[in-house]
């Protein structure tokens, strides 16, 4: 936390939750980004991601029982793909925190957290469908919105639509 800055109540709660995670995992997580809208940290060592997720759900002072959203992101400049997970402790401790996990842009993979929150099952399938990163340990990783034989990953920045799909012209 930066000094001399006054944080809101919810941000203080997020920072307290982050401190517990940081104490346990040390260098495997980055520093907390203390913005008001979505305080987040990044998982520096993605191989620990499932373990961190389980810790966040189970620790009595964290109790993140609700995965509100899981979004995929493309970082073409850094040659990376990533996800952002928004967590809340709904009805229990009422704090929130977001987590970013990144992987290589070509053939990268991120450990699946669908065994921790079932919400992640379809959300990870969507991220895979739109960006093309794989989730290791996912029970059924296949496209969820696009047809199975669709070419490319539509939400990547350099995506070009295919010319024809089953003989039907796709571009305008």
């Amino acid at each position: 936390m930066e000094e001399g800055k006054v944080f809101s109540q919810s941000l203080q709660e997020s920072a307290a939750a982050y401190a517990i995670i940081q104490e346990k995992f040390g260098a495997a997580v980055s520093a907390l980004d203390t913005n008001e809208t979505m305080p987040f940290f990044e998982v520096v060592d993605p191989s620990l991601w499932t373990e961190i997720a389980l810790f966040m759900r189970e620790h009595p002072k964290l109790k993140f029982n609700y995965l509100a959203c899981l979004t995929g992101i493309d970082y073409p400049v850094d040659e990376k793909l990533g996800i952002i997970c928004n967590f809340e402790s709904l009805g229990l401790l009422n704090h929130k925190l977001s987590v970013k996990v990144k992987c290589a842009r070509n053939g990268g993979s991120i450990p699946s957290i669908s065994c921790v929150w079932h919400t992640a099952n379809w959300h990870e399938r969507e991220a895979y469908d739109m960006f093309g990163m794989t989730f290791t340990g996912h029970p059924e990783l296949k496209r969820i919105l696009c047809p199975d034989d669709w070419e490319g990953y539509p939400l990547r920045k350099d995506y070009k639509v295919q010319d024809k799909y089953h003989g039907i012209k796709v571009p305008y």
Partner: protein, 189 residues
């Protein structure tokens, strides 16, 4: 002019052509297939409901393509859906009609450039008889489109093709502006 408008006299004897009777029967019970793809479907359902009451035209949705005469493509046709739309169209018995409702199914609508998953016009996969513009079209527009389909049926004859009937319809087209202006004037007076 409709068949019933002629008036029935002389002991209920009516002299007309077979074409006229057949066309009158077909256009008076135009059954669309009950399916919608996006927000246009909401407008279509509103048109079916009591305020606009499509049943006064003999139009009411059927749950099977095999019982339908008309397909109202109401909404965004995705690439995934396009093949299903073709399948449904093929399951309809002939003669069948297609009305494309709204900008999305007409030409891709707001998804025309960045909608990688949207079919840019349902006429790329099935033949369309009537296009209704709008996003979504008001129920009045949809009724206008359906009446256009009825006009098309009225143009048909035994032995002439759909293309010829469409040509006849185009030749007979009436510009509604003058009628609307006239009605406005009458209402204002």
């Amino acid at each position: 002019m409709g068949l019933l408008d002629a008036g029935i006299t002389q002991h209920n004897v009516l002299v007309t052509s077979v074409d006229n009777v057949l066309n009158w029967a077909r256009l008076s019970s135009l059954w669309p297939m009950g399916f919608g793809l996006a927000c246009c479907a909401i407008e279509m359902m509103a048109t079916n409901a009591s305020n606009y009451d499509l049943e006064r035209f003999g139009i009411f949705p059927r749950s099977s393509p095999r019982q339908s005469d008309l397909m109202i493509v109401a909404g965004t046709v995705t690439m995934k859906m396009a093949e299903r739309v073709v399948r449904l169209y093929e399951q309809m018995p002939e003669p069948r009609y297609v009305l494309s409702m709204g900008s999305c199914s007409n030409c891709g609508g707001p998804y025309w450039e960045h909608g990688y998953h949207v079919l840019k016009g349902v006429d790329r996969v099935i033949p369309v008889d009537v296009f209704v513009p709008g996003c979504p079209p008001r129920p009045e527009s949809l009724i206008g489109g359906l009446m256009k389909v009825q006009e098309l049926i009225r143009m048909e004859q035994i032995g002439i093709s759909r293309a010829d009937a469409l040509k006849k319809l185009a030749e007979k087209s009436v510009d509604p502006r003058f009628i609307i202006e006239h009605e406005r004037k009458v209402a204002g007076a």
